[in-house]
């Protein structure tokens, strides 16, 4: 269950990727603003979801939070410590506390290592075990926890199915007793019937071990099921954020509304009656973002002010914030 203890506090986080032109004299011509002034808090034992379409900055946000890439500006407080400027050595204890499960288990497990090696290496590196035997013991226990068998220790990743590989990736993340696990589309490479197994496994560990999850996905149905809080991103900014049921039942931002209405519902009777908000056009380039609110060229409720000013984040209820000029209009 989520408590009130804040374990992640992200403040005004920015990640710009510079674009250079020229051969001998490189000139800095523009920036890709992948993450632009993003702030949020995650409480202990909670699942915080970052959702949005490809290129919205959700994965970059997570990578910066893990310090896999360095932020351009802003603060990342993990359990009270700002890790945004820490050196490699200083980061080590935080690397142990934060683990990640990637989308594609084929790419994230070393094909030349046995499952036993994959699971024991992190434990030995972070010195949470005293001997190899202890590490093996713990690895076998981990395999059991994720629903695999002790004899799987000597097998190689290619001998497993996609769902089993993802179980191994989860076991590896758990091997160093982390506090926070980043889940980057952990089930999108899996079949539907296997997806539910992995999701239920993740929920079980969250409850038993009090883990905090940062969940990155474009699958809104899965986000609704798995998470407590959700942040919807568009072109590097959070446009709507709050309690997942509150946001999904009463979306305010037109982009959130469009995303929700574009997500198909597995019931033909409902689908037949549904009125879709079909957005026109594509997501604009993050290099040349539109003026004012970035969403205005595609927004069905565009007002003159939207072309001029980027809307501020405002609260619409106790746990629901929106960055949209329509909020002011609603109050009037």
């Amino acid at each position: 269950m989520p408590s009130n203890e804040v374990v992640i506090r992200v403040q005004n986080l920015k990640k710009y990727f510079p674009i250079y032109k020229g051969f001998l004299v490189k000139k800095h011509v523009a920036d890709v603003k992948a993450v632009d002034d993003v702030s949020f808090e995650v409480k202990k034992g909670e699942t915080f979801a970052l959702v949005g379409e490809s290129g919205c900055g959700k994965t970059t946000t997570a990578r910066v939070m893990l310090r896999l890439i360095d932020p351009t500006d802003g603060k990342i407080e993990i359990m009270g410590t700002d890790i945004s400027r820490l050196s490699r050595e200083e980061l080590l204890p935080f690397r142990r506390k934060m683990q990640i499960v990637f989308q594609n288990p084929i790419g994230s497990l070393n094909p030349r290592m046995t499952v036993g090696q994959i699971l024991t290496e992190p434990m030995l590196f972070h010195k949470i075990v005293n001997s190899k035997e202890e590490a093996n013991q713990k690895a076998i226990e981990l395999l059991r926890m994720v629903g695999l068998k002790p004899f799987h220790m000597d097998r190689y990743p290619h001998q497993f199915s996609g769902g089993q590989k993802q179980r191994i990736a989860i076991a590896r993340a758990l091997s160093v007793d982390p506090e926070i696990i980043y889940l980057d589309e952990p089930t999108s490479a899996l079949d539907v019937s296997v997806q539910a197994q992995i999701v239920n496994l993740l929920l079980k560990f969250q409850e038993e071990l009090g883990l905090t999850y940062v969940f990155i996905s474009h699958n809104l149905a899965l986000v609704r099921f798995i998470s407590h809080q959700v942040a919807v991103m568009y072109l590097g900014k959070i446009v709507e954020m709050g309690d997942v049921n509150e946001v999904f039942d009463n979306p305010v931002h037109p982009y959130t509304k469009a995303l929700l209405s574009a997500s198909p519902i597995p019931d033909p009777a409902i689908e037949k009656k549904r009125k879709r908000i079909i957005l026109t056009g594509n997501v604009p380039s993050p290099i040349a973002r539109p003026s004012g609110c970035f969403f205005h060229p595609r927004c069905p409720f565009k007002m003159p002010i939207c072309e001029k000013e980027y809307p501020e984040m405002k609260s619409v209820s106790s746990n629901h914030q929106v960055a949209c000029h329509l909020v002011d209009k609603r109050e009037v």
Binding site: V192, Q195, A196, Q197, N200, L222, P264, I265, D267, P268
Partner: protein, 333 residues
């Protein structure tokens, strides 16, 4: 009226070193004019091989070992399985068209969109370049590509993913085929773009009355598109029913469990039922129910013989010895 396409006892096997991979086994179904038939199934269930067999796109070591594919679009019954390459060229793209999952790989990066559209039109409608150009522009307009005349000279890389898929749809529909086969056409697209493309496909289907086979693993997408739905598992048909029947009263334990295992965006759910176990290995499978190892309603019989694909209610076919009754408990035997 007779269905435009009848697939009868189709079996497509792959002869591999490890053994025979029975990708499609004894599959039969009909497709009517102006109907959208959805095929759902997981990776390896045989859904793509089924439609590739219809287009005769099966190559060595694969082989259509049994069955008939009767096409009735030209006023007579023709068996696609028996056709030679020349006859197939006449059919492909003109009578039956196909859209693939990834628009990036189905368009040639070296030719303009216009060239690729006109190639199909000239090949099948035997018109000159000027007429083909006009028809091509008309098709691009139909799939709602802005400034179609200008875009004719663009190359695929100049289009976004959603726009590319629109071009692919335009090529597929340019000769007004009687049957359109769409194999996961929106899987590679973002959700708002997927909604655009699905909306376009629905509108065009209504306008052109094309019989459509729509393949996907996404039960949400299928419920938005299909009139009838066929569920495949382990190379076999498990259930075939009108869409609403299939979603509201699934009778096969696999369909029933699958529907309970998917999260929904519109309601808050307390739990997801998961199906234990893994999808089956497909090599040298015995002639029994492929779902039996994962099935909570398994009877002794299920691991000894193959249940028939039987019509349990009008239009509702199920391959199961112990089907779920409507509103019944999945775990009760």
């Amino acid at each position: 009226m007779d269905p435009i396409l009848s697939v009868r006892n189709l079996s497509t096997w792959f002869y591999l070193e490890e053994g025979v991979l029975k990708a499609v086994n004894d599959v039969s179904f009909d497709l009517s004019e102006n109907e959208v038939l959805g095929i759902v199934g997981e990776t390896g269930s045989g859904k793509s091989i089924t439609v590739r067999s219809i287009m005769r796109l099966i190559h060595h070591p694969g082989k259509i070992v049994n069955g008939q594919i009767i096409y009735r679009g030209r006023g007579r019954e023709e068996d696609i399985v028996k056709m030679d390459e020349d006859e197939l060229t006449e059919i492909r793209g003109k009578e039956i068209s196909m859209i693939f999952q990834d628009p990036l790989t189905s368009l040639n990066p070296l030719y303009t969109i216009g060239d690729q559209l006109m190639e199909t039109i000239i090949q099948h409608q035997h018109v000159d370049r000027a007429t083909a150009w006009k028809l091509a522009v008309e098709m691009l307009r139909k799939v709602q590509i802005p400034e179609p005349e200008k875009r004719m000279n663009s190359y695929p890389f100049e289009f976004s993913g959603g726009m590319k898929q629109r071009v692919v749809i335009a090529i597929a529909l340019s000769c007004n085929p009687k049957i359109l086969i769409a194999d996961e056409p929106t899987t590679a697209l973002d959700v708002t773009i997927q909604a655009q493309v699905l909306e376009l496909m629905k509108d065009l289907q209504k306008e052109l009355k094309t019989g459509t086979i729509f393949i996907t693993h996404d039960l949400g997408v299928i419920s938005a598109m299909a009139d009838r739905v066929m569920v495949m598992y382990g190379g076999r048909q498990m259930e075939l029913a009108p869409a609403e029947d299939l979603f509201h009263k699934p009778m096969h334990p696999y369909t029933n469990m699958l529907l309970k295992s998917i999260p929904r965006v519109d309601i808050k759910q307390d739990k997801l039922e998961s199906i234990p176990g893994q999808p089956p290995r497909m090599i040298d499978v015995p002639e029994v129910c492929p779902f039996a190892p994962r099935c909570p309603r398994r009877l002794d019989k299920c691991t000894k013989e193959l249940p028939p694909f039987a019509e349990l209610e009008p239009g509702h076919f199920v391959r199961c010895f112990n089907p779920v009754e409507v509103g019944g408990d999945i775990n009760a035997k």
